[in-house]
Amino acid sequence: MSSDTKNTIPTVKVTIDNITIEVPAGTTILNAARQIGGDVTPPAMCYYSKLEGSGGKCRTCLVEVAAGSAADPRPMPKLVASCRTGVMDGMVVKNITSDKVKDARAGVVEFLLLNHPLDCPVCDQAGECHLQDLGYEHGKEGTRYEFERRTFEKEDIGPYIQLHMTRCILCYRCTYVADQLTDQRVHGVLDRGDHAEISTHISKAIDNNFSGNMIDVCPVGALTDKTFRFKNRVWFTKPVLAHRDCPDCCGKVTLWQRGDEVLRVTARKDEWGEVCSYDGKPGWICNTCRFDKKAASDWVIEGPVNVNRHSVISQGHYSALQTPKETLPEVMGGRAPKLMMDIHDVSEVNKIELSQLPGAATGSDFNSPAPKEA
């Protein structure tokens, strides 16, 4: 948008869960809801405001449009993805005030968790995983899925990043990072349907100074930092804000420390789990800051982080815990997390049974040498 039109953008009024707000025309329902904040904001697993083209895929942000606009107040026949639907003047949106939305969202959560390994006890993302949060907040019951879960092998994509595809929810965010932040994309989505996977195809290293941002945008523990030392559970580390004078990026980061040791460096995240912006520009950080600057002396420490609402760390338990424990309920403030505690034997994560499924030949069946029942 050029700056001269910026001032002339008209505003429109939209009502979300009975709260009316005025936003610039062209704003999406999701972003309007974010301006209201709180529970009115639909969860978003694939949309990322700093990545062009993202959104629309996970379907967690579905909302009901009870009235399309003042000019045409008819309701929309289907739930719509709030991250990709623009507001109209006089639009009336129902999020948590709609039973239809709650029902559909519980369905989406169940679908997303269907093939998820639920290996939270061994996952680096545990504690800051958006899927975990989503499961707690919008999931309904334990899984009704009685089949073995889909699994993939772990893959190193370069010296710094590990891909644990089994945990991926195919939000496509990391591919947008590669397209929009790096000069060459070497990973992408291979195969299709329920076999689709994020991969480099022939284990090529992702080697670009901004590739590490893929880790920060990944909503789950599919892309993780291999240099995260001691693979600590996040809630045993202490996040502090820090900065350095970096020639390549903004240099504004969060350091995850234990004592004086820097265990991990990430970009700073806002309350929606996205990288913070500075002067309207996303604060992506470079790989040097992220992977190489692991001494406290590399950084100017600013102070402790206010952990956002999206994180289980915000329950305030991490600082009280002295010794590592592998149980979640305690860090969950005594809430017994139903969905997440359905944790499978970890070794099961590496077993495959898809090929034994009866039915259609897929690309991978076809590549298998083993006999298959027709």
């Binding site: 991969s199 195809h201 090929s355 590549n367 006999p371 298959k372």
Partner: protein, 183 residues
């Protein structure tokens, strides 16, 4: 145990140089010319068909990289596409590929018996290739020949209204002629 990641190993065409002849390069140029300037990515699907046909009936990593170079694409763009579409083979296949349709309308007319009969004749189940590398059997979804069921695709052609006798004939004719009888 087969994995869906199986095809990801680097693969090359043994004993075959992966580069188009001058004639085929001309064909590639003609394909590119079907699309407006700067849109040569659109040529990807047809050029992959051509490459598969030229380089042994399947797409090796080498072949896909070659196509990427030809069309000035990143290799990942080619892998993404090649793994999406079911007609691209990502592993070597037998000389004759029998693709039996198994969707509803064909099932109503006995496609399951056809698959069973091919097993009886050749000892291969869907996904397998005969030991002599002559036949690969694959089950596929609706090929748009539902009224002529049961049916299979053999190379470029459809074989329709299949019976045991027709399978016998088809196998005999493929086995008899060592030059490709499928096109």
């Amino acid at each position: 145990m087969p994995k869906s990641t199986d095809y990801k190993k680097e693969k090359t065409n043994q004993n075959m140089s992966v580069s188009f002849s001058a004639d085929k390069l001309k064909e590639v140029q003609q394909i590119i010319a079907r699309y407006p300037e700067e849109r040569q990515k659109s040529a990807l699907l047809p050029v992959l068909h051509l490459a598969q046909q030229e380089f042994g009936g399947w797409l090796s990593t080498e072949t896909m990289d070659y196509v990427a170079t030809l069309l000035q694409l990143e290799p990942i763009e080619v892998y993404e596409v090649a793994t999406f579409y079911s007609m691209y083979n990502l592993k070597p296949i037998g000389k004759h590929l029998l693709e039996v349709c198994q969707t509803g309308p064909c099932m109503l007319n006995g496609s399951e018996e056809i698959v069973a009969y091919i097993y009886e004749k050749l000892g291969i189940r869907p996904g397998q290739t005969t030991a002599d590398g002559m036949f690969t059997l694959k089950t596929v979804e609706c090929l748009g020949a539902c009224g002529y069921a049961p049916m299979l695709q053999l190379g470029k052609n459809y074989r329709e209204h299949l019976t045991r006798q027709k399978i016998d004939e088809l196998i005999a004719s493929c086995s008899g002629q060592s030059t490709v009888a499928t096109t």
